[in-house]
């Protein structure tokens, strides 16, 4: 990943930049005080180059003047005290109050949870994200999941709980594993790299369009589009869902899709919970349509304690945390710093999210056919805002 090659800028580089631009720009950071990333930003003295305000709540934004001075917004809401449903609401209010705004940067790779009308419709704002920053950690979770099930650890852990010692035959992972990557982008590419290096897996990739990078030639054994999904599902031992959440990918994994998988196959989701019909996944597991699952994301997060998923021995549950490691914050910082440099030097951003053409401008995975969010999602957001006010 390019992220690994990013170096922290030297003091002299920044001094040179500051000389060029002359003055600091105004940045709104949507986060909570004490956020670990905020601490890293301050420790790296990046605040030397911008004046910033911490934006913590909708009330705070509503108390602002009708025209703020903000040139940029940094959305740092994951692992903050700002609840997920409030993120697009706060962002919307902040954007409409900020006529000088030209840049919004997301600390996460996935951006579905923060999309608001003002951001989508804007012609003057460039939207960037931390694409690639969390790839490494997520890839390792995929490898862990594959090895876990290959070595029948789900059966052995169950035996352990019953104090049962019974030898069983396990499988070699090396040169013996076929993996389907549904939604092949930055994370998919890095996953393919790791799986090739560690277990010489055969990679079947599904992308919205057939365009690839040169390095994909050595990584992908079969490249297909949406129409090839049934073939891939029928072939592979592990299905990895890395689809972004867009109107087109909502609830695409249904029972009939799980039925296309091998009954010995394992489903891994490190993308978004909303691309799966969770009740169908539960049924597929209950009726042995598939052999197991490893999940980092869920339709509803936090996963309610009543979910049947908690009681399934053949399911690994991670609370949407596999992208976030101590190194993840470092890569996140590097990504922010890189785009910060692009912003002040007026050079092209590295990772823009182009909401008109598709999800990512550098590697188009899914296309929007409309510019607006589906009405139902807007209605959901409004309802949340109203109920909070009443409290």
């Amino acid at each position: 990943s390019d992220v690994y090659k990013r170096q922290v800028s030297t003091q002299s580089t920044w001094d040179f930049i500051m000389e060029k631009i002359g003055s600091k720009f105004k940045l709104a950071i949507m986060t909570s005080k004490g956020h670990p990333m905020l601490k890293k930003i301050l420790a790296s003295k990046l605040d030397t180059y911008f004046d910033y305000d911490i934006v913590e709540s909708l009330d705070q934004v509503k108390a602002m003047p009708t025209a703020t001075e903000y040139n940029a917004i940094f959305v740092l809401t994951v692992a903050s005290a700002i609840p997920f449903p409030m993120v697009p609401v706060i962002l919307q209010e902040l954007i409409v109050r900020s006529p000088k705004l030209t840049w919004v940067h997301s600390m996460s790779a996935g951006v579905d949870y923060m999309l608001c009308e003002a951001l989508i419709k804007s012609k003057t704002i460039t939207f960037t994200n931390a694409r690639g920053a969390y790839d490494r950690s997520l890839c390792e979770y995929v490898l862990l999941s594959i090895l876990y099930f290959t070595k029948k650890m789900h059966i052995l852990q169950k035996n352990k709980a019953e104090h049962k010692y019974q030898m069983l035959l396990v499988d070699n992972a090396w040169d013996n594993t076929k993996v389907g990557i549904i939604g092949y982008g930055s994370i998919g590419r890095n996953t393919a790299k790791l799986l090739k290096q560690s277990i010489n897996a055969k990679i079947y990739a599904i992308k919205a369009t057939p365009t690839t990078k040169p390095e994909d030639k050595d990584l992908i054994d079969f490249l297909g589009q949406e129409k090839d999904i049934p073939y891939v599902l029928s072939e592979v031992d592990y299905v990895i869902n890395i689809l972004p959440y867009t109107p087109r990918t909502k609830h695409v994994f249904t029972l009939s899709v799980f039925k296309q998988m091998k009954p010995t196959a394992i489903y891994i989701n490190i993308g978004r919970g909303a691309t799966v019909v969770e009740t169908d996944l539960i049924e597929a597991l209950n009726t042995k349509v598939i052999a197991g699952a490893s999940l980092d994301v869920f339709e509803k997060e936090p996963l309610p304690s009543t979910s049947p998923l908690f009681d399934m021995d053949n399911v690994l549950i991670s609370p949407h945390t596999m992208g976030y490691t101590m190194h993840g914050w470092d890569y996140c910082l590097s990504a922010f710093e890189a785009e910060l440099k692009n912003y002040v030097e007026k050079t092209p951003f590295t990772n823009t999210v182009n909401l008109e053409k598709g999800y990512q401008s550098s590697s188009i995975t899914v296309s929007y056919t409309h510019l607006t969010l589906p009405t139902s999602d807007l209605v959901q957001i409004s309802v949340v805002a109203v109920s909070l006010k009443k409290k």
């Binding site: 010692y165 396990v170 790791l194 945390t321």
Partner: protein, 339 residues
């Protein structure tokens, strides 16, 4: 054949009709051989006890009795590369028996278990598994397995392959402990540090993961005890793919319970099967395998291939491919026992 009927190699052997070359008896216990008429007619002995009902520590006494009762015995074949487990007096002292072993059929799957254990604990999966039983959804910040510092204690063929995989997969920094200095020039590139026994405290104090691959000898018996675990970092994980008897198991339990070490990935135990009363079953920070991580069809295919090769040599009176120098090993055992 020292084994039992359900053993995968025995099954394959029968499927391939290799028994058209020989008459055979499956010997599973000392009592069984003792109950036979003596002397026996056996000319050869194939030891394939792994994943059979014959425990590894029973192989020596069974083989001893077979050799004492079998004047025509000239060949013993070990299913695996390691041969310490069958070094019985009668074998070492024999002037007429040739010992062969399996050629480099290394445990690829065993090495993958080391990688699994490392990532499992790096991602705190043991904690999430516990939360799962409590229906609890709680975020924790997890760690990267990349660039982990890994100590390999007992750096032989499996150790080398472990180092290769860990370097490739997670760019691990490998600290190896070998009984004698390395003669392989590739080790310099592969390993961050290579030392001998005197360097063990240094390695233990440095690494995040300690992998035991020591063979079982009088010197390595009960080697890993509380004082050794205390030299490890409290955040470190102990992974045992060597021999269970190299560990003082109650010290391991205590170290895991009291946070002296962070967790353990275990494929072997002092007593196998591990008795149901063992406290290890109840520890959340233990990833437990019933000596099954090397139990793959691929491994057994390799074992059978090795046996078949030597069988062909034996029946056609050609030289064996992979002999073990008994006199040299006798000297080694003697010197070890004198330590």
């Amino acid at each position: 054949i020292i084994s039992s009927k359900e053993q995968p190699v025995i099954q394959k052997l029968l499927d391939k009709k290799l028994d058209s070359f020989f008459d055979y008896d499956l010997i599973g216990s000392v009592e069984q051989i003792k109950s036979m008429t003596s002397p026996t007619q056996y000319e050869a002995c194939f030891v394939v006890s792994g994943a059979s009902s014959v425990p590894i520590h029973q192989v020596k006494p069974i083989l001893e009795e077979i050799i004492l009762r079998s004047p025509n015995l000239t060949w013993v074949h070990s299913y695996m590369a390691g041969v310490d487990y069958l070094f019985t007096d009668a074998l070492i002292k024999s002037k007429s028996i040739v010992l062969t072993n399996a050629r480099g059929a290394y445990d690829a799957s065993l090495v993958e278990f080391v990688l699994l254990s490392i990532i499992y604990f790096a991602k705190k999966m043991h904690l999430f598994q516990k939360f799962k039983t409590e229906h609890k959804y709680q975020k924790l910040i997890v760690n990267d397995a990349s660039n982990a510092k890994v100590g390999i204690i007992g750096y032989g063929s499996i150790g080398k392959n472990t180092a290769i995989l860990l370097k490739k997969a997670i760019n691990a920094k490998i600290y190896a402990i070998k009984s004698s200095p390395s003669s392989d020039p590739n080790d310099k590139e592969l390993l961050h540090f290579i030392g001998q026994e005197a360097d063990l405290p240094y390695v233990l104090s440095e690494v995040d993961y300690v992998v035991n691959i020591l063979p079982l000898t009088p010197k390595t018996q009960h080697y890993f005890n509380m004082s050794v675990f205390k030299q490890m970092k409290s955040s470190a994980v102990f992974i045992n793919i060597g021999r269970g008897s190299s560990v003082v198991e109650e010290d391991l339990v205590e170290a895991l319970k009291t946070g002296i070490i962070y967790g353990a990935g275990l494929d072997v135990y002092d007593v196998e099967p591990l008795p149901s009363g063992s406290p290890l079953y109840d520890l959340d920070n233990v990833l437990m395998s019933p000596h099954s991580m090397g139990n793959t069809m691929l491994y057994w295919d390799h074992c059978l291939e090795s046996f078949e090769e030597e069988l062909k040599n034996f029946t056609s009176k050609k030289p064996f491919k992979n002999t073990v120098d008994l006199s040299k090993r006798y000297q080694q055992i003697l010197s070890l026992m004198l330590c």
